[in-house]
């Protein structure tokens, strides 16, 4: 199984600022995804992080608000831009291992609180 490290694990941010979340995997993966889990809710897919090209965003999410980078097969970042209290959520990275094994793994999440 893939081991996923997310940083920061939690942070408290001021309205109007931006924060970048890092996702590091211990092995090469084919696909990386970013999800949001709002308080008391289930997970919602934000985007697919594509290696070497722009991320693919789901309906309701835009690049200007959630820019994503994926420079290689083991690392991705998600930036939450110009934050408001409504962005207070847990942001999770998920990966599909190289040579699809039928398992998609999640990191422990980054809990953001925007004041």
């Amino acid at each position: 199984s893939a081991v996923i490290s997310q940083k920061p694990s939690r942070d408290i941010c001021q309205r109007g600022t931006s924060l970048t979340i890092q996702c590091q995997v211990d092995s090469q993966v084919t696909m990386m995804f970013w999800y949001r889990q709002q308080p008391g809710q289930s997970l919602t897919l934000i985007a697919t992080a594509n290696q070497g090209s722009e991320a693919t965003y789901e309906s309701g999410f835009v690049i200007d608000k959630f820019p994503i980078s994926r420079p290689n097969l083991t690392f991705s970042t998600l930036t939450v831009s110009n934050m408001s209290p409504e962005d207070s959520s847990i942001y999770l990275c998920s990966v599909e291992s190289k040579g699809y094994t039928g398992e998609l793994f999640f990191g422990e999440g980054s809990r953001l609180t925007v004041l």
Binding site: F33, S42, E58, L92, E96, L104, F106, R111
Partner: protein, 114 residues
């Protein structure tokens, strides 16, 4: 649009009392149906992937089954440590290869009382 509906929203059982959680889904081109366990403050923990109707998988006290429209997670003789939120999700395949991300249900919050 892919959709996943889980029921019940919450379930309280006595230790040893077996039950089932339901996951109804609609998806265009199912690549896989996933079950996860999520504990408070943690990321989802992978349990099972099911691919086609009739498939079953087991892990300890958990057994997942799949039909063309729904999946069940059966919990046999549960223990208090089985208390968690259980999430169901579907993944659609893409015609050119690769796959979409997961579409999740809202989860079933399971409490096992000693």
């Amino acid at each position: 649009e892919d959709q996943v509906t889980q029921s019940p929203e919450a379930l309280r059982l006595q230790e040893g009392e077996s039950s089932s959680l339901n996951c109804s889904y609609t998806v265009s081109g199912l690549r896989g149906l996933f079950w996860y366990r999520q504990d408070p403050g943690k990321g989802p923990e992978f349990l099972f992937t099911l691919y086609s109707a009739g498939e079953e998988k087991e892990k300890e006290r958990l057994k997942a089954t799949l039909t063309k429209k729904e999946s069940f997670l059966h919990i046999t003789a549960p223990k208090p440590e089985d208390s968690a939120t259980y999430l169901c999700a579907v993944q659609a395949g893409r015609s050119g290869g690769g796959a979409d991300g997961l579409t999740f249900g809202k989860g079933t919050h399971l409490i096992i009382q000693p």
